[in-house]
Symmetry: C2
Subunit: 208 residues, 2 copies
Amino acid sequence: MKKKVPQATVHRLSLYARYLGELEAQGEDYVSSERLGEGVGTNGAQVRKDLSFFDRFGIPGRGYPVSFLRKRLANILGVGDRVWRVAVVGAGRLGAALVGYSVFEKQSFHFVAILDNDPGKIGTRVNGLEVGDIRDLRGIVSSQNVEVAVITVPVHSAQQVADMLVEAGVRALLNFAPAKLDVSPHIVLRNVDLAVELEGLSFHLINS
Amino acid sequence: MKKKVPQATVHRLSLYARYLGELEAQGEDYVSSERLGEGVGTNGAQVRKDLSFFDRFGIPGRGYPVSFLRKRLANILGVGDRVWRVAVVGAGRLGAALVGYSVFEKQSFHFVAILDNDPGKIGTRVNGLEVGDIRDLRGIVSSQNVEVAVITVPVHSAQQVADMLVEAGVRALLNFAPAKLDVSPHIVLRNVDLAVELEGLSFHLINS
């Protein structure tokens, strides 16, 4: 890559890849930057700028080759030809639902472990995976080659669990606990903060 | 309000309110804009700018009164002293998990209905709610005064479900389907797009 890619560009790359998949399913061979932009709610100039971080994909006079660009974007996004090994910590409703949620498998995120500290849950099965004991976290991360962890524990345990995961060698965290986690800058951290989403929604409801 | 509040400000108001709740629990009476900013990963100038959209909350020489400001922010965010009535469409794993997820109740979002089109699910119970038939959507929205809907249907049905909900009178949609929904601008729409989150995570994993 030429330089640091902005977060917003990475976000749009996902949307481009998804829209290209739709065009591919419709049998389209080429797409202009204008149409690709329109399909995801932006414009052609933005598309060209976003893609220029990586390569020249367009063919003058024809546009972008749909199938080729979709595959290249999947590889750039790290969801093309590899699989990420994922553990969920927190086998409550949300954790159990995510383990069975097809979006993860579709994006090459493969669940290999689910852990909890509740003796009533340890040993039960969730979508084919046996719930492990959080005390065995380090051994499970190592033996299962876990690279990514999904945190679905209550807010008061989230930081402790994050620390344990990082110490065990996990490189990326997807955090669903409504907490601001403090992790080393070399760890990839994404937060899905439903409380903040809901407050954004209610703010616009009462002000619309 | 003086003028249109940026999305990023609304997002930070949620984080301020959460941090103020922590300070309140620790028995703090006042907080400076610098400390409030630090607590959510920004600075004092940003805090003062964000709050200036609404009112003057600070007391010269003492800072912001913690408990008062937390309550005011909750009201500004629409989660203070009212309850939003919510229906979930899609009684699969994710929909069922969300109905039992405490974050919603804590943010004043109260589930009053869950709907599906699968005869095998209709009539079963999820966290105390009976799964209704999606064909009765209009009647249920009206009789239950549903204001907000959570969409957890497969991607290929998401737009159709969104159209039905808007037509039935729902004012806000929280969409978990990995689809770009097209709704009238007076509808409040928030997307929780896990596919995009996962791709952002894998992008940073392979580029770190």
